[in-house]
């Protein structure tokens, strides 16, 4: 069964309007596969019936569930390794040396998904900074309210803790809670999670010392990427650091950044002015 062209364009327009995520033609199979469970749950016979319902009664809950079903939340602990080891060996020491004692470093995990990224940052801080949990404050945001709630809960399935979390970190920072694993209270206290759409105006926050904006720009078109990178820059300290995903760059998108090599990876720093 393939999705009617009109249904696909209704869904892709809606998703674009709400999240700026671009669903190019050819992604019909994705829309069909992701929306089918939603349709079933809503008691609709199929995806077209769900779309029809959303078209006639575009209430907040339906719209939001469609958008959330179409975002990719794939993530893992210490994703790609190097950005997080460099955070501990280079970025934190430099920033701490430049800040008055007692001042907290502010970190933003700007598409935090289910929480692996902000809690990895929290682990790196507590492993590399003496008294780390009191020197770092992490703001975790995501478009999806479900992901924000998961980050707040700080509970992960067995399958999730298997993905890239070093065993010594698992035993040090997690306890079992039934079939799941729960992040230690000290790490949870470092992370504040809230809903935020990167493509819309940002609330008052920051300035941030480090921003993780990883594996999310890939879903946007160039003007949206430009706009996000420019506004993220205004929320950063002049000597701050930006980490993007392995397949993302500011080069050719926003000229306001300098790319710096950090070990085997690279980070971006705002250019003054």
């Amino acid at each position: 069964m393939t999705l009617a062209a009109a249904d696909f364009s209704f869904v892709s327009d809606l998703v674009r309007r709400e999240s700026s995520i671009v669903l190019a033609p050819g992604k019909e199979y994705l829309v069909e596969a992701r929306l089918l469970p939603l349709a079933r749950k809503a008691g609709a016979a199929g995806v077209s019936e769900l779309v029809e319902k959303a078209r006639r009664h575009p209430d907040r809950a339906t719209t939001q569930s469609i958008v959330e079903a179409l975002t990719t939340n794939e993530t893992s602990w210490y994703r790609d390794g190097d950005p997080f080891s460099q955070l501990g060996t280079t970025v934190f020491p430099q920033l701490l040396a430049a800040r008055p004692a007692g001042e907290k470093l502010r970190i933003w995990s700007a598409a935090s998904s289910s929480g692996q990224e902000p809690y990895t940052i929290a682990m790196v801080a507590s492993e590399t900074i003496p008294g780390g949990s009191s020197r770092v404050a992490i703001t975790a945001t995501d478009l999806s309210t479900e992901m924000v709630e998961r980050t707040r809960a700080g509970r992960f399935s067995q399958l999730e803790v298997n993905r890239g979390l070093p065993a010594p970190m698992l035993v040090r920072h997690f306890t079992r809670a039934g079939a799941e694993w729960e992040v230690a209270a000290a790490l949870r206290a470092m992370v504040t999670a809230s809903q935020l759409n990167l493509a819309q105006p940002y609330p008052r926050m920051g300035p941030f010392d480090v921003v993780f904006l990883r594996n999310v720009l890939i879903y946007f078109d160039v003007p949206t990427k430009q706009d996000i990178l420019r506004r993220v820059r205004t929320l950063m300290r002049p000597d701050g650091w930006l980490f993007l995903g392995a397949a993302e760059t500011t080069l050719g998108v926003d000229a306001g950044w300098e790319r710096v090599a950090l070990g085997r990876t690279s980070a971006y720093r705002p250019i003054a002015g």
Binding site: S157, Q158, L159, R176, G178, A179
Partner: protein, 166 residues
Amino acid sequence: MSEHLLEATTQDGACTLSAAELLPEESVRAVAEEIWLSFIGEEEFLIPLDGEAPANPFSAWVGIDGPWRGRVVITCDESVAQDLTRCLLGEETVGELSQDDVEDGFGELANVVGGGLKALLPEASRLTLPLVGANPPAHGEDMFVIQSIWRGQSVDIVISSVPLQY
């Protein structure tokens, strides 16, 4: 010893909670569903529905030995055990599976389910090596069944307390 278990054991250390109290159905299902998704396949769902009793029932079981002694038995049709083994082995499998392969693969599935359930218990316990066959040991009185459907066929997980030495 955790408080939960202190209340649950008598003076000689035996466990007084029932199998269903120790291993809530919801958690057992969560463990089994995860195993299906990661070992059997990304799109392989265990659905919480009752199925028809298998024509040729085949079982794999492991014992859990600690303050609580119990047994976890997975039962399905023999052909389903074959399909599960084939999925477990993934692309590696071509052609017919030997009876040995099925017993080994299905036994490993019981081992993984048993290990996942053992971790839900409040106190450290040991797992016995898996056994496989058409005639699992009889269930004791304190038992409960968790019924599921996989690819339209029934897969039962029976958890029981084992009163005597096994």
